[in-house]
Symmetry: C2
């Protein structure tokens, strides 16, 4: 962790939030702010500070890809409706250069997509070298809504956990840092957020009657998350379960995971693959 | 123009920068700031103010696409090296939600792309409804470097101007606001910027010996721009030639073009396509 950030955190949140053995989703708090030494107002300061750190690291990361560095980052975002995926994209990912982002939102699969294996559309959208790929929903939908709504037979759902682990291991082997995030929202907090969308005409477009349909299956979804996370949390492709009732905290935590990922890469500016002195002479003569 | 922005501008820059009859590129200044009532420092204030205006308009624009509005915006960015395309993407486009951006950088065409018509790869990358498409370089390369470097026979280059006009008219007919921007950089300013990239190790990755090769053909490129712009500036798909020696001005001007495009759409939040009262009752019971 960089010195500038250390003042805000008492403990590296990556360690606090990473899913380990014996994980029980229902035992995880949704309204806490693990490791952060302050409240909402200090959180805003920390987010702005982190944005400039992240942006600089991302530029170095991207720069290296122009000279052959093959590394990528993939941030997978999963959550119940209103948990704040959009805010993460806007306020965390949005702080870096749009050129460095491969963002993709996975909606209900199209007819064509349904004719292929569930990973077909996913594999087409993995990030390019030097990019932060962002999956706004992902292949995990196929073991979440897929399981809860029985969109596939039980043995197919069962097969998918292994297929996901294999796929993600391939990504890791291909120099991808995989960061899987579940924004963990409380059921009451969701009710309040959906209520706000219904109260405010400028938020109506974000509301979908289907959101309440899914809400009515809350416990089934929590169970599906429990199973998905425990079956696919690996040392190389870990899950982070992030308390999401406090939007400011969830944003900070995800920002921190990205900063940590870049710090672990030990990035520096790439060295010139041309003769600097000769180029100066050519430029001077031009 | 919104009231908040009017204080910064003496004249709508869209009108001042839009290419009209009798356009002569060589007569256009590169170091001026047409219509802006201030210098660099006020420019920074205006850019921050404009960013929040643009961001709000973009959200409304995107919101409407979720209820069937088919409109798109396409921003085409063309310029000599170092003119500041990257800064426009980062500081102007980067101010809006990444979910609302369809950014694509067109590099030298691949072997597969060269086996198709020059518009093949372009057509595959036009923006989706509710998005701001950004072409970082574009089909215009095929009549710029294409012409200067004789990458295609003269009659094929000649054919392309008409093909571009026809293609862009199709985009317009399909509800796309097409904004074509040439960042107009002075030759001396380019020398200074390339020199800075050579001086600073953290900028070496942005330098390419090929940049000087192209610089040696400066006059040919200016002529190719002159021809391309006069052949393809139409009322529906206008060109804007933006003085680019002052980075802060070019960013402001492009930001303003986007704001103008959204203001012309007369955007409002979409009305709910569900029964708000009934949904409130369902939510309360959930």
């Amino acid at each position: 962790m960089s010195t500038r950030l250390e003042e805000f955190w008492t403990t590296d949140p990556s360690d606090l939030l990473r899913v380990g053995d014996g994980f029980v989703l229902s035992a995880e708090e949704t309204d806490s702010s693990p490791g952060f030494n302050g409240g909402k107002s200090l959180g805003a300061t920390a987010l702005a500070d982190g944005a400039s750190i992240l942006s600089e690291l991302q530029e170095k990361f991207f720069a290296n890809s122009t000279t052959g560095d093959n590394r990528k980052v993939l941030l997978v975002l999963q959550a119940m409706d209103t948990a704040g995926k959009g805010g993460i994209v806007r306020h965390v990912v949005g702080a870096v250069d749009p050129q460095g982002i491969d963002y993709v939102a996975f909606k209900a699969p199209t007819k064509e997509e349904r004719e292929h294996d569930f990973l077909w559309r996913i594999k087409k959208n993995v990030p390019r070298a030097g990019r932060i790929g962002v999956f706004d929903r992902s292949h995990y939908e196929d073991v979440l809504i897929g399981r809860v709504r029985s969109l596939a037979p039980p043995d197919e759902i069962e097969r998918r956990y292994g297929a996901i682990n294999q796929f993600e291991q391939q990504l890791v082997d291909d120099d991808t840092t995989v960061i899987k995030v579940m924004l963990h929202l409380g059921k009451d907090e969701q009710k309040s957020r959906l209520g706000e969308r219904l109260e405010r005409p400028d938020k109506h477009w974000k509301y979908n009657p289907g959101d309440v349909d899914e809400r009515l299956l809350w416990d089934d979804y929590q169970e599906a998350y429990q199973i998905a996370i425990e079956r696919t949390a690996t040392p190389d492709a870990p899950w982070y379960v992030i308390p999401a009732d406090k939007k400011w905290y969830a944003r900070l935590a995800v920002q921190h995971l990205l900063i940590d990922a870049f710090n672990a890469m030990d990035l520096d500016w790439p060295t010139a693959d041309f003769d600097v002195k000769a180029e100066k002479a050519r430029l001077a003569a031009s």
